[in-house]
Subunit: 498 residues, 2 copies
């Protein structure tokens, strides 16, 4: 370690200036564990209190008993221990009149650490007292620092545990690492790998330096710098931590089939205590990441399955393949711009692929009829909203519930001319209104067997025309205002033929 060694603070509290100056003279060259002393002086208990208010790290106070009054020193001790709740500073009483404060009574009744008779306190004895007291202080402080550090790690991991996705996780981890290490700029690299239930190797790489967040979830890209990769591989091979110049790589075996290496770059050496705490923190972080990623994996799987099944249903009605994925993104976008709660927006996003699930019950004769449907056929066609609702509404969970409402309401119109219920305005749940406009925008912009993609101006014209008729005016305004962004979202999932 290359830290400059801070002095030990020693408070000299005595109403006689001579006592203070002689003490200072005797002690000025004393080093305890190579650290010098620094003297804080007070001529009364009142002045001493000011010192204790200003300095939280006084190692030792030599306290005269008789100052303002016969027991000013004793009262000061009580104040330090009881009012200030300072149990760390070592307190040594010095008295010139032992009779007034009998040694045995005082040391029993007051929480002091030593009691000295001034007449006996020659220079050697004074130094001995100082050594003894400062060593006790050092031992207490050392344990306390470790404890404080561990408490900090505990609350740091609590905050990391609350991150809801990988990026938020990285941001929080880097913040906590900076606080723990007292260093910046630092970077953070996570290598996670597992062998899944199918025997396939999966891997997630994360990197974050405070500015740039990068992730690779599929053995596709190497996002670590060469020298980091080398050390990480070494940790993976040896299944041990690798501590190199400016880098700390923590290996954690999470289970039989999964392991991580979490690495932190360091800009300066760290103390042994900090290394120990870093070790604890990175282990925790690894476990938290595995939990988070397994949740994210289930969420993504769910989303993909919804899309696959939604697409299968679309295909049956001969609609284009990526429609459901695009509508899902457009709904998320409009939901967010409408200021809806983010959890609710995510439910809408995940539920939209099921909006036409009721079409599964519509006979092909109607679904695939080339011409216009007659009135009776149209009545059958319209049942898909209710059928979809009935299928999904059985589940009490939030996602199918939202799906049920989207299925039921996505053909309602703002002016009340829609189906199945002919609801008007805000009587139509917001998720139904969002789905209605997203569905139409994407269908118009796509090529279908019976039509070419509409150009932007024509779609915009229609949106303006249907504002307050088919569509919620506010959503319509949002869609018009952000039309380019919506088209850009569409481009993420092009149809094969587009």
């Amino acid at each position: 370690m290359d830290y400059p060694l801070l002095p030990w603070k020693v408070a000299l509290i005595d109403d006689e200036d001579d006592v203070i100056s002689i003490s200072e003279m005797v002690l000025k060259r004393v080093l305890v564990d190579s650290r010098p002393l620094m003297f804080l002086k007070a001529n009364s208990a009142e002045e001493a209190k000011v010192l204790f208010e200003q300095h939280a790290d006084i190692a030792l106070a030599l306290v005269d008993v008789v100052m303002e009054d016969d027991h000013a020193g004793l009262d000061l001790v009580k104040w330090i221990r009881e009012s200030k709740k300072n149990t760390t500073t070592r307190l040594v009483l010095r008295t010139g009149q032992p009779g007034e404060a009998p040694e045995e009574d005082v040391i029993r009744d007051y929480d002091i650490n030593d009691y000295k008779n001034k007449t006996e306190l020659n220079s050697t004895r004074l130094k001995t007292t100082i050594y003894a007291a400062i060593r006790s202080y050092r031992d207490i402080i050392e344990v306390k620092q470790g404890h404080k550090g561990l408490e900090d790690v505990v609350s740091a991991t609590t905050r990391v545990l609350q991150a809801s996705n990988s990026e938020a996780f990285c941001v929080q981890v880097l913040k906590e690492l900076k606080a723990l290490l007292g260093q910046a700029p630092i970077s953070f690299y996570l290598h996670y790998q597992l062998v899944n239930a199918l025997g396939n190797r999966e891997q997630i790489l994360l990197s974050y330096d405070g500015d740039r967040y990068d992730i690779d979830t599929g053995l596709e890209r190497e996002i670590f710098p060469g020298e980091i990769r080398e050390k990480v591989n070494q940790a993976l091979t040896t299944k041990r931590n690798v501590i190199a110049d400016g880098l700390f790589c923590k290996f954690t075996q999470l289970s039989e089939s999964s392991e991580t290496v979490v690495s932190v770059t360091l800009t300066a050496p760290v103390s042994e205590l900090t290394q120990r705490l870093l070790n604890v923190m990175l282990t925790k972080i690894s476990i938290i990441f595995e939990n988070l990623t397994s949740r994210e994996d289930i969420e993504r799987t769910q989303q993909e399955l919804m899309c696959i099944l939604g697409e299968a249903i679309e295909k049956r009605s001969k609609e284009t393949g990526s429609h459901v994925r695009r509508v899902s993104l457009i709904c998320e976008f409009l939901g967010q711009r409408s200021g809806l709660d983010e959890h609710f927006v995510q439910l809408i996003k995940y539920a939209t692929p099921m909006h036409d699930i009721g079409k599964i019950a519509i006979p092909e004769s109607i679904l695939h009829k080339p011409g216009k449907l007659d009135e009776q056929e149209w009545e059958v066609m319209k049942t898909h909203a209710q059928v979809g609702f009935d299928l999904l509404y059985n589940s009490k969970r939030a996602l199918p519930q939202v799906g049920a409402r989207i299925a039921l309401y996505h053909h309602e119109k703002w002016d009340g001319s829609g189906y199945p219920a002919g609801l008007k305005g805000e009587d139509i749940p917001i998720e139904g209104r969002i789905m209605a406009i997203a569905d139409v925008i994407d269908a118009l912009a796509a090529r279908r067997s019976y039509k070419e993609p509409w150009p932007a101006e024509r779609i915009l014209a229609l949106l303006k025309e249907e504002r307050g008729r088919h569509f919620d005016p506010q959503l319509c305004d949002l869609a018009i205002e952000h039309f380019d962004s919506i088209m850009a979202l569409r481009a993420i999932y092009p149809d094969d033929e587009e």
Copy 2:
């Protein structure tokens, strides 16, 4: 607190018996913080080492300098601090010949806490020394105990974090609480509530006493005893911890919309330190539970959606409603009995509802044909296996991958007479073989429009006949052996008309 107060251990180390017995006489009635002293005696450094080997909790040692040789006491000090790495015990040197071990040199060079000249050490001075030293020891030990406790809580929460479901979570939590409190039997109650994105109140209650695990996830049952419920409600109303006789209820506000009360019954009072640690631990446990339950919620949602969609597809082919749910359970059962990896079994369980997803592409003219299919129609019908595979295989995730294989292989037969590929024996992936037998067993046991449920004997007879023909012989044996259990699983999801 009602603990009997343990004595402070004081080691008296001196080669003169008189010194030891006088010290003992002077000190025997001394109490430090109401705790008596207990004396450990040694006449040499060697004997003293034995004491230090036997007692890890010596508060203070009074050490004579000259014993076996001129510096036996000094060597002992070095051994205690450096070899034994004991930095906690307070060490006070006593010397009869100050000249041989000059006070200032000794206190500077050895990590001792005080240095006394025997001639000056009268009874008052000895008591003062004892008070001072034991108080230092007390302060250090107090911080160390807190630190040790916190370290224990950190590793306890790490283990809890690895629980994969609510029951495993409860078992682990109770184990950790018992260890922290040093008490048993204790019980553990968790009340979790949130307002979800739809504005609905959700609630999970958990209770576990080491024997009985109970859970209610739906505002349906009260599983807490009356007196616990009362205190938990008080905690929820006041949003504060409730600490009552024999009960500790910890309230945690997890987010704007979610909160928990975690309660522990106590059989004895706990120290202030333990209360503080309990507080930290229960906060962590609350957050871990919320993470766990949100993951479980997504998993259950996924499972329900798979079943809803699988059922929708079944309905189209006019099969009975609960078939997919029953088959899912039977597959899980057979997978587990076959000794497959539990993760893999769960993938099979969740993927089976999609086995017939390819039927979505089969025209109604074939799907609903009342009579037997002609050869050409049968060829179309058989394509549903490949179509299902194609739909699901696009996703790289484990669940759709398993679903794709089940869709593709569930009509293969052990003897190679199945479709689409006519694979034989173990060339058919195990998930396909499991699905094949589960599908047939459930179909035979169910009522269909064209047939009555088969009686058990008839199904068993068919299984025996098709062993090694249609079905994997080992799976067939398992199904026959556990036939009653399989029928019991079927009963969980009866068809409406059954």
